[in-house]
Amino acid sequence: GESVGLHLPTLSVQEGDNSIINCAYSNSASDYFIWYKQESGKGPQFIIDIRSNMDKRQGQRVTVLLNKTVKHLSLQIAATQPGDSAVYFCAENMGYSTLTFGKGTMLLVSP
């Protein structure tokens, strides 16, 4: 069967709280970043992206912040809901290379 999986970092929040999920990326030359949400048994779902010429981008209830100085990316979810419970992956890309995924963070939202 499958090899034993790694334990994912987990963030537990209460419904209605704001959530912040962090990601340290590896390549200082990366110029495009994406956040994906993956629910159990499903494929990753695009949430929001940001290019390296920006440091902040907002979507519906989500904000991505990019700090290129320390190679850090964060996803902020406002008024977290139980339906936000999932694993969140950041992914980075440089030029025409393929995406490199981070390790993932599990978000658990309790009612």
């Binding site: 790694l6 495009y32 494929g43 990753p44 779902q45 695009f46 890309n93 440089m94």
Partner: protein, 114 residues
Amino acid sequence: DAMVIQNPRYQVTQFGKPVTLSCSQTLNHNVMYWYQQKSSQAPKLLFHYYDKDFNNEADTPDNFQSRRPNTSFCFLDIRSPGLGDAAMYLCATSRDGPGRETQYFGPGTRLLVL
């Protein structure tokens, strides 16, 4: 709705018995990707097609092959599945690139090897 479709959602095969997983897309995207994802891990890219050009990742085992007969369809062939190949297999597409373009994922096929 335009989408990425994977069939079947669950596939059971026997150790050493060839198996093929399917992916189709209605997005008319140029690039199609195959990823392997094991429990609690990030997706790992196996290979991708940019139109008809096949691009294999350096560490993808020879046991894994792919075919893209047309823009819409892409197949993953596992010639002799081992127990370690049990995983979720994800297909994704992007309009162009790869790189600098969002990838859209299908729901995945979970492969079980007995």
